[in-house]
């Protein structure tokens, strides 16, 4: 499949799948491990990918949440994520996709400005989360947050849908950023 679609497969019973897309394998691996350690009533599956499109020969479950991991220290991760964005169906951005920016704390190593990511997220109308994946505590907290988002996007939480979560996570737009 050349384009990733959100609802083209039937969901597995009590399973939720998250696809982490990012150029940095080590970070993704660590985040995946943290996510699997979180307490969750449903069964979590974590898939990692360096970029989209995914090879179509593998049989995989339907993706409930798509997380684009961008390392602010490398421009290459931003470029690879931007290239992968073309292979995602538009209906993913109704709450099943989010952007994760890591490494904003160390300003001297940042080659990508955080406003770039914020603008990218605003173009795609998706939430953007900031964390530091190198730090254990921040990573664990982010993993819990992602696990909760994953549960909601997979439909395991009655009464809350992915789109209502999306409108909840919409940040108020400050006028200074609007002029950028």
């Amino acid at each position: 499949m050349s384009v990733l679609r959100p609802l083209d497969k039937l969901p597995g019973l009590n399973t939720a799948t998250v696809l982490l897309v990012g150029a940095d394998d080590a970070l993704l691996q660590r985040l995946a491990d943290s996510m699997l350690k979180t307490d969750c009533a449903s069964e979590l599956r974590v898939h990692l990918a360096r970029s989209l499109p995914l090879p179509s020969n593998v049989n995989r479950p339907r993706v409930d949440l798509l997380v684009f991991v961008i390392n602010l220290h490398s421009k290459y991760s931003l470029q690879s994520v931007e290239k992968s964005l073309h292979h995602v169906d538009a209906s993913f951005f109704l709450g099943k996709a989010c952007f994760l920016a890591t490494g904003a704390g160390r300003e001297n190593l940042c080659s990508v400005h955080r406003n770039t990511i914020v603008r990218l997220a605003r173009t795609y109308r998706s939430p953007v989360l900031f964390c530091d994946l190198e730090v254990e505590g921040s990573r664990a907290a982010m993993a819990q947050r992602l696990a909760r988002m994953l549960q909601i996007s997979a439909g395991h939480v009655p009464g809350v849908s992915a789109m209502s979560l999306l409108s909840l996570l919409r940040s108020s737009e400050s006028p200074s950023l609007e002029d950028l």
């Binding site: 394998d25 009533a41 599956r45 898939h47 499109p53 593998v58 995989r60 009464g159 992915a162 409108s167």
Partner: protein
Amino acid sequence: MESQPEKRAAAEPADSGGEGGAGGLPQVAGGRSEDRVTLLLRLRAQIKQQLVEYKSMVDANEEKTPEQIMQENQIEDKIEELENEIEEVKIAYEMKSIALNRIQRSTALQNNLEKIDAKNSEFMDNMKQILKLNKLIIRSQKESRSLERKRLEIKKKRLDLKKASESKLLEIQTEKNKQKDDLDSMENSDKIKTIRQNLQMEINITTVIQHVFQNLILGSKTNWAEDSALKEIVLQLEKNLTRI
């Protein structure tokens, strides 16, 4: 394209919610029946929610999307509109559920009113507190409204005063301009011109007469410097009349 390292790992099932021991799937070996029931209920809720999602996607796809290619800012506006619509629907739903809860609670209270000991229960205290707070709210709202009204009136008065001062200043300015124009026109009027011409002619005539008298006195070869009266006359005739 890129190699994809796939990782499948099943999470350890949580002990939260009292569902200890249940695996991911309903194949529980020797699990207690209550756990199975909770698991089944949870799965039922999940499947319901997923069904709602699929249904809503099907409904959404039945809507006709506009085929023409819109400008990007138009698309942005459209998206904003739709997002606002979602917000409004959510808010309406929340308000309705709050109202419904309130109605349910009040009917429950009504039904149980005999059982409540009216004298010393916390319930009465709560009700009294609620009434007090409501009165306070109403009073402060009234006050704030009257203050707002006063503020508006003062603003109106200020605006009127400003307008009046503006018109007065305008009047002053037009008056000044009129004065200036009058002065200018007066300078250039014909009357002044004729008067000036006459004046000039008179000056010329008087100067000529002066010169004539001067030459008379000089021509008479008298020593006018000795006689004080003659001296006075000569000096007076020297006066340049154009400087008057």
